[in-house]
Amino acid sequence: MFFFTLLAIYPSVFVIILSFFAHGKGTNLSVALPNLSNFIAVWKDPNFGKILSQTLFYAGVATILHILLGFTFALLLNILPLHPFFIRTIRTIFLIPWAITPTVVAILFRLILHPQVGPIAIFLKSIGSPIVFGPLGQPAYALLSVTLTNVWMFTPFYMLMILSALQAIDPGLYEAAVVDGAGGSQQVFFITIPMIKNTLLTLGMFDFVTTAAYFDLTWIMTQGGPVRTSEIIPTWVYRTAFQSFEFGKASAIGLILFLISVTVSIIVLRALDKE
């Protein structure tokens, strides 16, 4: 446990030090007093606002869709009175995308969305459509494509989480509601959703925070391109740290991301505490 705490705390302290002290290239700490020049450099970076809003879009849209789709699938699996074995099998099949290596998911969707070899593009060509289909290469659609890929990959996980929350609801509540004459949709809105609201909020928070920091898919699918239209903070940090070796600035960007995450978490936890 001690070992773990050490390992968890040390990196966070270290990047904070880096962000305040390290300037320019490399990791040499300058002996100057701690200052905010890295943070100011990030703030003044012309791309900062753009990348930040892209990150918020990516994480926000993905979170909303994860929870919405996950809830729908979970509800379907939970309410239909089918054979438990069948339900378990379907659930397992739904889980497959989440079990695939993220790298392979990225490769898979690069192929599917490929303008020459992808099945969608070939299909469009075969029916003589003039549309050039290659969303990953188009500035307007690249970010959206990556976001939807993320949705495809991670919705199963949230479905699973919501499903186990649904199964924890006392069936007596529904029986009582039926006695009182509640219809199906009324049961969903007045029993199911209030009962799992806290789980949904916690999941949503966790989802937003982890998606905003999620690097693999974006990097392999688009590398943040074309012309940085799908760049999000993690890929920007990576680029700054490992391609231009400005570790101080990279740490500063990363810490800004972390601050946003912490703020979101605190807001959600406050909302939960009010209950």
Binding site: F94, I96, A99, I100, T103, L160, P234
Partner: protein
């Protein structure tokens, strides 16, 4: 249950509908599997099933030294990380399950917060550390990083595993003269073997899937892991699809099968995190 009764026909319709939905949902992956069997003369045709099936692609992948080497590297890193996570996680998970200490809940929620720390920041720190200690471009920082990021889940899951076993068994062993440690090793661990094995397998899968650290810490191509090898293959100008697709299938299918086997043992641990956190 919201719906308690349904006619038999409606049930059949629902079954078909759900199955169809599930198949559509995973169809991109099915497409990939189908494509891996296409002969390279007919690479990306429209039809769902290949006109002629071939396993030539698989044979060429299995003879590819780069693929095999990186698969072996991934195997090495993932199994060592999973073992380490288990060795460190068993005492921690056991203490969380059995002992009451004042900071227990605080520490458990701290474990929930840790995964929200951006991995990319961890990568920077570990990169700088690795360079300083001269272990850059070796597998050590990778093993360390994978153990570290998977430890919170390991502890959470092992806690639920240990909580599910009854105290009486180990207590009776302790009455017989075992120390607590001996009771843990000789009595509790054998009973919880399925849970332990699943935790191991899940951490193994996660470490195998890991990309960010693998691409950060490794520069030499012989030391690359499977994820970085594939990612660099798709980044090239002339992508050899006939090799890449079977490689992707080969590196994922076994893990998916493994995942299906173990999922019921890890769901509880995962769900606990989301409802209690």
């Amino acid at each position: 249950m919201l719906i308690s009764r349904m006619s038999r026909w409606l049930k059949v319709v629902c079954c078909c509908g759900l199955s169809l939905l599930a198949v559509i949902y995973i169809s991109p992956y099915l497409w990939m599997i189908m494509s891996s069997f296409r002969p390279s003369t007919e690479p990306f045709a429209l039809r769902i099933f290949p006109r002629s099936w071939t396993i030539a692609n698989y044979i060429s992948v299995l003879q590819d030294k780069e693929f095999l080497a990186s698969a072996f590297n991934s195997f090495k890193v993932a199994s060592i990380s999973a073992s380490l996570a288990l060795v460190l996680g068993i005492p921690a998970g056991y203490s969380f399950a059995r002992f009451r200490f004042s900071s227990r809940d605080l520490m458990m929620s701290f474990l929930m917060v840790v995964p929200t720390f951006p991995g990319i920041l961890l990568a920077i720190t570990l990169f700088v550390m690795a360079v300083k200690f001269g272990v850059y471009d070796t597998h050590y920082p990778l093993i360390l990083a994978n153990t570290l990021i998977n430890l919170p889940f390991t502890i959470w899951n092992l806690r639920t595993v240990f909580e599910a076993t009854s105290r009486e068994i180990e207590e009776s062993a302790m009455v017989e003269g075992c120390s607590r440690l001996l009771a843990l090793i000789k009595v509790v661990l054998p009973i919880t073997l399925p849970g332990l094995a699943s935790t191991f397998a899940f951490v193994y899968i996660l470490s195998w899937n890991e990309y960010l650290f693998a691409t950060t810490f490794i520069a030499t191509s012989e030391k690359r892991l499977i994820t970085t090898t594939m990612a660099s293959a798709i980044g090239q100008f002339n992508v050899n699809y006939a090799k890449l697709i079977p490689a992707a299938v080969l590196s994922t299918l076994p893990l998916i099968a493994l995942f299906m086997l173990i999922q019921r043992y890890i769901i509880k641990g995962l769900a606990m995190g989301s409802t209690k956190g």
